[in-house]
């Protein structure tokens, strides 16, 4: 074997195991789902071998599905916004802490990821109920008179999703924050900027790439989250993932479920690619 051919095949050989894993576990199921979404469904006889665009036409012509996708997008956007508003200050406070407290608080922030989704969500449903801790506290503080509808509502789902997603935002911002030169803030101060101006004009813009990548992660994970919307939102508040589940397991309309899943995937991928392109264009010169 000549050197040239050896070096050409070597990368493929070396990456074969991971490629096989990738193909077997991701590409094949996705392709099967995509094919399934074009199958004909008959309510009497189930999934047929014929192919059709009917499933997609059904979705695209029904305002119910538009509402469903819009609701999911709004929910994810709300969670993302809350994660930014809470996560950025949280990370900055964390970075100013003494090292020994930093460790403890890091574990607390990552906590939601370490607990099983079922346990975490059940815990929240106890807290969010009409007789739950949150409603009772608010009533005894005199802030509200009647209990708020938190369970089976958008508010509840957004609160619980924000709790789980926050660590992803904190980690993304933290990584960017660690790369900042603390003297840059000093330079801004000595040039006459107060602490607020220094934050808004010097520190925040430098954190922006981290915030944006955190936002992408949070948005996509929220849009594809299933357990939290299913358990907190219940049957009353449907999002895309829960309706896919319903199509598969209740209506048994697999092709329609697959079509919704494919549309969700397309939606998420285009959000990710769009924001990536935006970030690259905006920050290429600045942080190369």
């Amino acid at each position: 074997m000549s050197d040239a051919s050896k070096s050409a095949s070597q990368p493929w050989l070396l990456s074969f195991p991971s490629l096989a894993l990738f193909l077997g576990l991701l590409v094949v199921p996705l392709a099967l789902t995509a094919i399934l979404s074009f199958n004909v469904f008959d309510s009497m006889m189930g999934t047929q071998d014929d192919y059709t665009f009917g499933n997609y036409l059904e979705i695209l012509s029904d305002s119910y599905y538009y509402e469903l996708f819009l609701r999911t997008a709004l929910m994810s956007a709300g969670v993302t916004l809350l994660c930014i508003l809470l996560g950025v200050p949280e990370t900055i406070i964390l970075s100013r802490m003494q090292p020994r407290y930093q460790g403890i608080f890091f574990v607390m922030i990552l906590g939601p990821l370490l607990i099983s989704v079922v346990v975490r969500t059940l815990g929240w449903s106890i807290m969010l109920g009409r007789e739950g801790l949150i409603n009772q506290s608010l009533i005894s503080l005199g802030l509200i008179e009647a209990p708020l509808q938190l369970m089976y509502s958008m508010t509840g789902v957004v609160i619980v999703l924000t709790h789980v997603m926050l660590p992803f935002m904190v980690i993304a911002v933290w990584t960017t924050l660690q790369k900042l030169d603390p003297q840059v803030a000093d330079a801004a101060r000595s040039l006459g900027a107060g602490s607020w101006t220094t934050f808004s004009r010097v520190i925040l813009p430098q954190l922006l790439p981290g915030i944006l990548s955190g936002a992408i992660i949070v948005f996509t994970l929220s849009a594809s989250a299933f357990a939290t919307p299913a358990l907190i939102g219940g049957r009353r508040l449907k999002v895309v993932t829960t309706s896919i589940y319903d199509e598969f397991l209740h209506s048994m309309n697999w092709p329609l479920g697959a079509a919704i899943a494919v549309l969700l995937l397309i939606g998420i991928v285009s959000v990710v690619m769009g924001s990536n392109r935006y970030i690259e264009r905006k920050f290429k010169q600045v942080f190369s």
Binding site: V184, R189, S190, L191, Q206, L208
Partner: protein, 356 residues
């Protein structure tokens, strides 16, 4: 413009790092003072306390007589050039330079004029719209300098601002910056560990060691008549000779070194016992063996272009001699030579390095 007074300034980092032990310095209006010292002696910490980024553990900083020890950095009107440049990475060169002017709420026309002026001063015209990541190290450093010159600060604090420039650009910047500083009359502190930089630019040099000022004076004073052993060795080179004091007369002190007896400028009449003497290599001259005060044999010689450096074994131990590369014969290795000096150049340390 502004006088700066530093009184007993000290900084102890937890748990017990005494970065700066006690600094006293009075800087006149428009004066250029360098803090010169080896790495880790507390130069940056001192500068940061003056700028307001580090809170002193003790002492005071006064600007025109007003106590600013605990004043916020943005209220001090000081221009700081950092060791790491600290440019704003998300702003272009022009935006970096504008920043301080915008903070001062100057009218747009004036901002533009000052930005252009400042960039011209540091020879960076035409790079306005580049980002810091697209500049070389030297260019970044010059942006940092332009950024503070633009605000015409009351005090200029420079932390090794030229350490990344090539030799030619650096010496150009020395002349340039010194000229600007004189013209604008800005009181300036320069932190450096480059002796040449400190010597060429400063009105006065403060030689720092272990968090204190070991020596303070004009460049000639600290080089020619330093008072501490540390300064003799830190600034330039010195031959250190151990001598035994024999006695004193009206003008001289007699000491014995090896088998020779020589005279040095009068020391305190009380001085007795051992004495350490210092003489600069360039103050020793070579002659034929018969005419030398002492004789020695050339061990090695190094050619440096404009000078020769000789290592000579003599009665005084090994001596280093620096000789200008003049026309004519230079003594070779192994040759016997005479060594001469002016009695006044054989100095001794009059002060001790304060160990606070």
């Amino acid at each position: 413009m502004s006088t700066l007074t530093i009184r007993n300034l000290a900084k102890t980092y937890p748990p017990n790092v005494r970065a700066v032990k006690s600094i006293d310095l009075e800087i006149e209006s428009g004066e250029f003072v360098s803090l010169l010292g080896s790495s880790g002696c507390g130069k940056t910490t001192t500068l940061q306390m003056v700028a307001g980024f580090v809170t002193p553990s003790a002492g005071q900083v006064l600007l025109d007589g007003r106590d600013i020890t605990y004043l916020e950095p943005d209220k001090r009107d000081m221009g700081v050039v950092f060791q790491s440049y600290a440019l704003f990475p998300h702003m272009t060169v022009a935006q970096n330079v504008r920043f301080g002017l915008e903070m001062r709420k100057l009218p747009e026309a004036q901002i533009r004029e000052r930005v252009a002026d400042a960039l011209m001063m540091v020879q960076l015209g035409g790079l306005d719209s580049r980002y810091p990541s697209e500049l070389s190290g030297g260019q970044r450093q010059r942006v940092a300098i332009a950024r503070v010159l633009a605000i015409r600060p009351r005090v200029l604090l420079l932390d090794e601002p030229m350490s990344n420039l090539d030799a030619k650009l650096r010496s150009e910047m020395h002349v340039e910056l010194r000229g600007l500083q004189k013209r604008l009359g800005i009181t300036t502190i320069l932190v450096t560990h480059d002796q040449v930089e400190a010597m060429t630019m400063s009105d006065r040099i403060a030689v720092m060691a272990n968090g204190t000022i070991a020596e303070l004076g004009t460049p000639q004073e600290v080089y020619d008549i330093p008072s501490t052993e540390f300064a003799f060795n830190f600034l330039g080179q010195s031959n250190t000779i151990t001598a035994k004091v024999l006695g004193h007369d009206d003008a001289h002190t007699q000491v014995s070194i090896g088998s020779s007896v020589i005279q040095i400028p009068l020391r305190d009449a009380g001085t007795s016992g051992e004495l350490r003497l210092f003489i600069r290599p360039e103050r020793l001259t070579l002659s034929s063996p018969e005419t030398g005060i002492i004789t020695g044999r050339v061990a090695t010689r190094l050619f440096l272009g404009n000078t020769w450096t000789y290592e000579i074994d003599s009665d005084f131990g090994r001596l280093r001699v620096i000789k200008v590369n003049t026309r004519g014969g230079q003594p070779g290795e192994g040759e016997l030579v005479g060594i001469n000096w002016n009695a006044a150049d054989m100095q001794s340390a009059s002060g001790e390095l304060a160990d606070v």
